[in-house]
């Protein structure tokens, strides 16, 4: 499954929790305009974060038993990651992913500082404060589907996730 395949690559972001995604509309628009494969990446991205959040809860609540993810938690995760996975397959997949991630605990990291990046020992380059770029409004505006008088156009406000009942109706034909 694509989730598991990309999962190992994403493990380094285990410290990361995705905050509430308030701007569903822009996310989708910006992703499709950037990268063909991004939709897949986005789902993995969101899965990773679901897993991270659940992992935190699962280690706190019960230590090494196969965990039942409580309904409240599922609800919160769905809201945060904008992924609808409220079905047997979804939950089973989630639990498998958590088991997989638990393998990290086998490694003894006592006395080892966490690493942010393999490049973190390098010197940070300091740039001189002289103007060297910009002045390319036309070029940038061409990249956007929708512009008005040299402004980019975005949909107004943030589109919140619809309530549970509404979502069920909206997504009943979608895969998770």
């Amino acid at each position: 499954m694509y989730v598991v395949v990309n999962y190992t690559r994403r493990l380094q972001t285990l410290a990361f929790n995705l905050g509430p995604s308030r701007y569903q509309g822009v996310t989708r628009a910006s992703i499709t305009s950037q990268d063909r494969k991004s939709k897949q990446n986005l789902s993995c991205f969101r899965w990773t974060h679901l897993i991270t959040l659940v992992h935190q809860y699962s280690t706190r609540i019960s230590n090494s038993k196969p965990c039942q993810v409580p309904v409240d938690l599922v609800d919160k995760l769905e809201r945060l990651a904008l992924v609808d996975f409220r079905n047997q397959e979804g939950l089973a997949c989630l639990e498998k992913a958590i088991r997989f991630a638990d393998q990290l605990h086998v490694v003894d990291t006592d006395g080892v500082d966490p690493m942010d990046s393999v490049l973190e020992e390098r010197a940070l380059y300091l740039r001189e404060d002289a103007v060297a770029e910009g002045d390319c409004a036309e070029e940038l505006l061409q990249l956007s589907k929708n512009t008005v008088e040299e402004y980019f156009v975005a949909p107004p406000g943030n589109i919140p996730l619809p309530k549970r009942e509404e979502r069920a109706a909206m997504f009943k034909h979608a895969e998770f």
Partner: protein, 487 residues
């Protein structure tokens, strides 16, 4: 305004975002500017195009370090950059590069003053702790086009360097917050690290306000945002305090509406930037590295200019003026320069000049809502009036009159006005003697009162003499003559 009643105490904390005064942005080489054509100051990185990377601006690091030193902070030799993720149209990358985990400076103090006391002429000094100073990116601007129900995005501001100055909630009312902000503005302007213009968005202040009963835990915080002047900030904070008190007194609970983020989610280390290292002295910097690649605290410290608090003290010591006058001189834009210019050009002592600047000049400026730079009377013109008075050509009350006249007709000189309206001092002592005699003769009751001990009545007689002479008589001489006649 005291915000501590017998039942509730108010707590105010500030978060200040100061736009760094630099030529280019924090992580890209596009220009920092105000009111440029939309999206003309935007580089590929600012637009968050794939494949672009952040490159840190040395000037921004120096600005943050200098500000930290001026506020007595501990400068972290190693600081880290993070990504703060949230979705908003004016944040094209979907994250803001900031320094949440380990900022460049921590644990400082801002000492500020305001004029308190019953007559608002006592300098009251307070301090607020600075929790941390962090470097971060500004976001773009979103404009709402209601007609077509669209949001328009201008990324000119996206990526501009900000110093976020986080203060501990050590304040309790709008006046304190406004005074703290004003002092911060003056410090940043003196350092040159931020121009501090609130109306142009160079200095943005958010206030967190909560109230509680003495001894209780602090109440829910609400946020006051988007204020464009220190005065409005004070008002908005006081209003919010009052509103919360009203809510509590009516039995309700204070709701926090603004915060959707708990402030702890959405962070990850910025993988494209290694830690930022600064060094205490050239000797501790890594050998063989070009000077342009190293920020050294010793050097920055040497370049620290005179801070407002030091300047106030210097004015008191140099000119012998009162602390509250010095406070006002530094607080009002341009007033100190004005004062010093007058002192240079006149033989009148600084203490006399300060009286004129505080009363006559400030009086008219406030009345007509003008700034010092808009004053119709230049420092040189005021100096001339004072010189006429010092030379004995006009009396003190006439001098004030000339000032008022000159305000209305700035094209003329003081001498011209004195000549045209015949305001020159009446020096003819026989003439004054005659007028004094006349006044004394026509007011026997007052003379009697003075003779029997009520010396204050002499002022009334003086007033009458001055009326006769249209204020042109030397008051010292008049007083002497009258005293002699009524003894």
């Amino acid at each position: 305004v005291t915000q501590t009643t017998t039942t509730t105490q108010s707590v105010v904390g500030l978060e200040i975002h100061a736009q760094i005064h630099s030529n280019t942005k924090l992580f890209s080489g596009s220009r920092v500017g105000f009111q440029a054509p939309p999206n003309s100051l935007v580089s590929f990185f600012d637009a968050s195009l794939p494949g672009t990377l952040p490159v840190l601006n040395r000037r921004c690091v120096e600005a943050a370090v200098m500000t930290g030193l001026a506020l007595n902070c501990t400068i972290n030799r190693k600081s880290l950059f993070d990504r703060k993720h949230y979705f908003y149209a004016d944040l094209p990358a979907g994250y803001q590069i900031t320094q949440q985990r380990l900022p460049i400076a921590v644990d400082g103090t801002l000492t500020y003053s305001h004029l308190g006391g019953r007559k608002r002429n006592e300098v009251v000094t307070k301090s607020v702790r600075i929790k941390q100073i962090q470097l971060e990116q500004d976001s773009g601007k979103s404009l709402h086009n209601d007609y077509r129900n669209q949001t328009l995005i201008d990324l000119n501001r996206a990526g501009v360097g900000l110093m976020e100055l986080v203060m501990e909630p050590d304040m309790s009312c709008g006046e304190e917050a406004a005074a703290a902000v004003r002092e911060m503005q003056l410090i940043l302007q003196a350092l040159g690290t931020c121009q501090g213009n609130m109306a142009e968005g160079q200095l943005r202040v958010d206030a967190n306000v909560s109230i509680h009963r003495p001894g209780d835990h602090w109440g829910i915080r609400t946020e006051v945002k988007n204020i464009n002047s220190a005065r409005n900030l004070a008002r908005a904070i006081d209003y919010e305090i009052q509103r919360q008190m009203f809510v509590l007194e009516s039995g309700g609970t204070v709701q926090n509406e603004t915060r959707s983020f708990d402030g702890k989610t959405g962070f990850m280390p910025e993988p494209n930037l290694p830690p930022l290292m600064v060094y205490e002295a050239c000797s501790t910097a890594p050998p063989g590295v070009a000077p342009s690649q190293v920020v050294v605290l010793e050097e920055v410290r040497e370049r620290l200019p005179e801070l407002p608090s030091v300047r106030r003290q210097r004015l008191v010591e140099t000119y012998g003026i009162l602390p509250e006058h010095s406070f006002t001189l530094v607080n009002e834009d341009g007033l100190m320069d004005y004062f010093e210019a007058v002192v240079r050009e006149t033989k009148a002592g600084p203490r006399k000049v300060i009286g004129w600047v505080m009363n006559e000049l400030q009086g008219l400026l406030h009345q007509q809502n003008l700034s010092v730079s808009q004053s119709p009377i230049s420092p040189q013109a005021l100096a001339q009036i004072l010189n006429l008075q010092e030379n004995g050509q006009i009396s003190s009350s006439i001098a004030k009159q000339v000032f008022q006249e000159l305000w209305k007709t700035p094209g003329k000189t003081a001498q011209q006005i004195v000549k045209e309206q015949d305001l020159g001092m009446v020096n003819d002592s026989t003439e004054i003697y005659r007028i004094c005699q006349k006044v004394v003769d026509s007011h026997p009751d007052q003379v009697q009162a003075i003779r029997s001990g009520n010396k204050k009545v002499l002022n009334k007689l003086m007033g009458l003499v001055q009326k006769e002479t249209k204020g042109r008589a030397d008051p010292v001489l008049v007083r002497a003559i009258l005293e002699q006649k009524t003894s």
